[in-house]
Symmetry: C2
């Protein structure tokens, strides 16, 4: 790549062949398809929408639908092409060369998007490698020591599945507030546990990031949203590209959140399936991490991972402290049973 | 915005209320709606698509459809959320603090996206303010003098409507090549005139940027694409966010380009309507710039612009050399007739 700019030399283009058959448990998507009722409502809208027109750059329809669902004002909401675009906007709008306090392991894209700034990450370990509990004390120590511009808490955390307690989260937000630092609470998986979005009413230094890609079973439309006080939303909107969201994605997400009762049963099922899978993994002698999300984190040896791939079962492999760990998305009952059977084969 | 980073202080969040009624001639959208046949084909796809899954990060379906339409290889194509995301990727991947040679006036978003780098723009005037012909000699002089990393040519140019001759374009590409500089040819409006995309087979320093937002009447899906040699496409894909495109947008664009014959007649009609509008504007004593696109650029006084807004006719106002100029998108016959009638009212 002879024209790639100097500061990026060494980086490679990202390509990854799509997996469309087999048992797909590698991307934390919903175990269940988008409800048919949602798709039928979308079809009706297709006759009315004028796709020739640019989308509403203010994204009023979907922001209003989200604001209504949470009892917030529209000025407390902004949306992006997945959480990804909003992450990019956070770093673009906040970070020149300041510190960023975050946990390890956590969602890898934070560092990816921050790499376009000169931000410096301080990674805080979890309390141990068994339950991966958030180490609130160490996070607060780091805030006091490094004076970061941004503190990132992903809860439930990807990939560990562990969640922060509300009281500890508040301690972190208060510590950050004292030094004029912003907290990003990434709640991509909160529908499987609990949300603390309401804290934005109490603290003006809190971003809450959410998505339609997980519990809403709509990863294909690429729509994430951010909830915060108006001043922080304005800050994001300084750098958000205009006309960023496809008209259809806005319409679909709006239908989904207005009909969120259609998802309640599936969410309950996924939580139950997760608990069953956890028990089954333990029965195999494995040590899954207690999860508050729709995936389970655990150590597996390479032989097992390869055997699963041979059997077209796809899970996510991640390097953590020089060892391979694995993140398994909760599938349907049938998928989980096949996974467990194949794990049993490969362990015996 | 107390948390906005220092380097952005002074910038404001961008909000703009959507205009959804009246005569909308301000965004260079197609005068005609998306063909009904396309929408019907999309509905059928809705029953098959699994929106719960993340999109294919390689965007294979739409890249293959585009590559086939142009007789290129899939490795010569990448796609973005509108041309906008690809512009962002160009600056992110190429520019640290180098010079960028571009024309004035041209598409305002070039500078917007470049503002996240330390790139320095050199603006080259057109030959005159009557036909706004590209000043090839001055552009080449600037290339030799400033040693830019990037040269941007928008042809047909937004907002002037003027187009560069192929032979002159090649001279610029060759001059740029000699100093290892890349040329971005923005062809958002080329379906209304001519495309020079095939030059990517001859030159490895040429990006050609195209979109479904104009002639394809699909601004609402936000899908732009870039054609270039594999090495330049790889360069963009170093910084392109993964999973960037909504599954439905890819499907719709793919249907559209496979059925591009459905657009042929409308494109011809728009060109004829443009010529009629040009003549009508001249008859009013105005001085429209000769246009090779689906819009017309001209000077109007403020009183006229305000009168049009009062009558719910929306055109685009731009400041150029301390005067207000206006860009009028070609509408339907009925819309153009009303526009001309109201212009006549306000001039008399």
């Amino acid at each position: 790549m002879k024209y790639l700019k100097k500061s990026l030399i060494g980086k490679e283009p990202y390509y990854s062949k799509e997996i469309s058959s087999g048992i797909i448990l590698n991307a934390n998507e919903s175990a269940f398809e988008t409800p048919k009722e949602i798709i039928e409502l979308v079809k009706k809208e297709l006759d009315k929408v004028d796709l020739r027109r640019y989308p509403d750059t203010d994204n009023t329809l979907i922001r209003e639908s989200i604001a209504n669902a949470y009892g917030l004002d529209i000025t407390n909401v902004t949306i992006g092409v997945g959480s990804d675009q909003l992450l990019d906007c956070i770093f673009k709008s906040l970070i020149d060369d300041e510190h960023i306090v975050s946990c390890n392991p956590t969602f890898s894209m934070y560092k990816e998007y921050a790499s376009f700034t000169n931000g410096k990450f301080i990674d805080i370990d979890f309390k141990d490698d068994i339950n991966f509990e958030f180490d609130t004390e160490k996070i607060i120590e780091a805030i006091k020591k490094y004076n970061p511009k941004l503190v990132i808490i992903c809860s439930p955390n990807n990939p560990t599945g562990s969640a922060i307690e509300r009281s500890n989260l508040e301690k972190i937000i208060i510590a950050a507030n004292e030094i004029n630092s912003v907290v990003l609470l990434d709640e991509a998986y909160s529908e499987f546990h609990e949300t603390n979005y309401d804290l934005i009413k109490k603290y003006d230094n809190l971003f809450v990031l959410k998505t339609f890609s997980k519990a809403y079973a709509l990863a294909g439309i690429r729509l994430g949203y951010m909830i915060a006080c108006k001043d922080l939303i304005d800050t994001i909107n300084v750098v958000k590209p205009p006309y960023n969201m496809s008209r259809l994605s806005s319409i679909i997400a709006s239908i989904a959140i207005k009909n969120k009762n259609l998802y309640d049963e599936n969410i309950k099922k996924i939580i139950n399936l997760k608990n069953e899978l956890f028990d089954d993994l333990q029965k195999l002698g494995l040590k899954p991490v207690k999860s508050y999300s729709n995936f389970i984190f655990l150590k597996l040896n390479d032989k097992i991972f390869d055997y699963l791939i041979e059997n077209k079962i796809y899970i996510r492999r991640l390097k953590y402290k020089n060892e391979f760990w694995h993140r398994i998305t909760v599938g349907t009952k049938e998928e989980n049973d096949i996974l467990i059977a194949k794990l049993k084969d490969s362990i015996m």
